[in-house]
Each structure stands twice: as C-alpha cells, then as structure tokens.
C-alpha cells in the first residue's frame, strides 16, 4: 500500500502518481455522469410526454437569473483553471486569489439559487404544495425534476466549495505547490463537472419557450 505522506517533508522519494490521481477523479466523474444522466433521461421521457405542460411551467422560471448563474459558473471555471497555471508558474498569491474568487463565485451562485427557490416557495410552488398539486401532472413533474436536479446540482456546488477551500489551505500551507499540485487539479476537475452539468440544466429548464 502507498502511504500518503506530505511531499514537503519527505522530499525526493515520495511515491507519486499524478496521472493515476487524475484518472481516479475522472472515473469518479463518470459515476456522476451516470447519476445525473439517469435524471436527464427521466426529464427527456416526461418532456416528450408533456411538451406543452413543460413549456408552460418553464415560463415561471426567471431566464435572467438562470443566465446570470450560467455566466457565474463559467467564470468560476475560468478562475479555477487559471489558478493551476498560476501555481505552475510559482505565483502562489495569485493562485490563492483565483481559488478564492472561484469560491466567492460559487457562493454567488448559491445566493441567486436561494432567492430563486425562495421566490418559488413564496408563490406556493414547491413539492406537494396545494398550489402545485392543483396543476396538471406535466407541470408537477416539471417542478419535481426542477427541484431534484437543480437541488442535487446545488449540493455539488456546496461540496465543490469545501473541496476548493481545502485546496486553499493546502496552497497556503505549502503542501500544494508548483512541484505538486495534483490535489488542485483534481479539485478543479470536480468543479468543472459542476459547470458542465449546469451547462445542460440551464437550457433544459430555463430556455423552453
């Protein structure tokens, strides 16, 4: 078994397999693909069955908030990608600034989501609400999928924030540095997946007109 050792302390003889680490993260991301994929299939079947109801229900989502959150996530993917380049160049402070920006953007996304969901709850649209159950089954399914899929996505955003916060500490302490940054790379891979999922959620929920 490989014992994980702080690279700074051990120096030259630490066993490392960066390609293996990244491959491990990719394999995990494939399981995420199947997890969300199953939900996208459920969405596809019901949208196929209730096209008019989905169209009607989608008009209640705010396209502006959806677009804003899309731009926020795309930008956060940019900043986390750049943080790796910065670290590779040995610019520790810049790298930490970029990771911090990514985390702030992630919080911005969640704040928008909070107000968005809050508004929906205020007008009585939430799972099993009397207002929602009075509607057609197609609309109930649309909002059910909306809450489950954007909810699971938001959970991934929260987990992503934790992963990136750990990386920020690792960079600050020097255990992740220009010579050993695979932890930041795998964290960034996870963060990009969160972005990719949203790239599909956005048009499928917000842009049906």
């Amino acid at each position: 078994m490989t014992t994980h050792t702080p690279s700074a302390a051990v120096g030259h003889h630490a066993h490392r397999d960066d390609v293996g680490s990244r491959m491990g993260m990719w394999l995990f991301l494939f399981t995420e693909l199947i997890l969300f994929g199953g939900m996208f299939i459920a969405y596809a079947v019901y949208r196929f069955k209730y096209p008019a109801e989905f169209q009607l229900a989608a008009t209640e989502l705010d396209t502006f908030v959806g677009t804003l959150n899309t731009i926020i996530l795309l930008t956060s993917s940019l900043t986390i990608a750049m943080s790796i380049t910065a670290l590779q160049e040995g610019r520790k402070a810049l790298s930490m600034l970029l990771v911090t920006l990514t985390i702030l953007l992630a919080f911005g996304f969640l704040v928008n989501k909070y107000f968005e969901w809050g508004h929906k709850f205020a007008v009585g649209i939430y799972p099993r609400s009397p207002e929602l159950l009075a509607r057609t089954s197609g609309e109930v399914l649309y909002f059910g999928l909306y809450y489950v899929m954007t909810g699971l996505h938001a959970l991934h955003v929260i987990i992503g924030i934790v992963v990136l916060a750990f990386n920020l500490v690792f960079i600050a302490r020097g255990s992740v540095h220009a010579g050993a940054f695979v932890k930041l790379e795998t964290g960034a891979l996870y963060w990009h997946l969160v972005d990719v999922i949203w790239i599909f959620l956005f048009p499928l929920f917000y842009l049906i007109h």
């Binding site: 690279s7 120096g11 030259h12 630490a14 066993h15 490392r16 397999d17 960066d18 390609v19 293996g20 990244r22 491959m23 990719w26 394999l27 494939f30 693909l33 199947i34 994929g37 199953g38 299939i41 596809a44 079947v45 949208r47 196929f48 396209t63 677009t67 899309t70 731009i71 795309l74 930008t75 993917s77 940019l78 990608a81 750049m82 790796i84 380049t85 590779q88 160049e89 010579g179 050993a180 790379e185 960034a188 891979l189 990009h192 972005d195 990719v196 790239i199 599909f200 956005f202 048009p203 499928l204 842009l207 049906i208 007109h209």
Partner: protein, 101 residues
C-alpha cells in the same frame, strides 16, 4: 502503476496560458448569449436540438481545455468515450422501452 519521481514526472505537465483560458471563456459566454437568443425564436422541434447542440459544444470546450483532456494521455479520452457510450445505451434502451410499452 507508473511511479513518477517528483522532480521528473513521466508526463510533461502542460501549462495552459491565461490567454487560451480567456479565449475559451469568451467562447463560452458567446455561446451562452447565442443559446439565450435562439430560445426567443420559435424553431419548433429544432429548439431542443439547437439547445443541446450548443450545450454540447460548450461542454467540449470545457472538457478539452479547462479539464485538460486535450493534453492528457489517449486513455483518458477512450475512458470518456466508454462512459458516454454507456450513457447513450441507457438513453436508447429507455426510449425503446417507453416507445413499445
């Protein structure tokens, strides 16, 4: 498993320039603008195809550059292809099941 020595990793680590990342980001923002604009046009059955087509191009940009897939070993892309084919099989089988129920 290949054990790389810390000073000389077996894979030459590719550094992507800030400019390349910015360019990809601009492309992603532009595609977002296009998909929002296209949603305002009544394209009939092409609405979903356009939306998914643009989302796929955006995903390709994120995977290739942001996620460094372009610079990784070939095996990464093969694994991704296997995962996508698996998902495609799920989709096709579900729709067959749905269509013939």
């Amino acid at each position: 498993m290949a054990a790389n020595s810390p000073e000389h990793p077996a894979h030459a680590q590719h550094t992507v320039s800030y400019a390349s990342y910015l360019l990809i980001w601009l492309g992603l923002i532009a595609l977002t603008a296009i998909t929002v604009a296209a949603a305002g046009i009544d394209l009939g059955r092409w609405v979903i195809i356009t939306a998914l087509g643009i989302a796929s191009i955006k995903t390709l940009l994120v995977l290739a550059i942001f996620m460094h897939l372009k610079f990784e070993d070939q095996v990464f892309r093969i694994f991704l292809a296997v995962a996508l084919v698996t998902l495609a099989i799920f989709i096709v089988l579900t729709f067959f099941d749905y269509a013939f129920h």
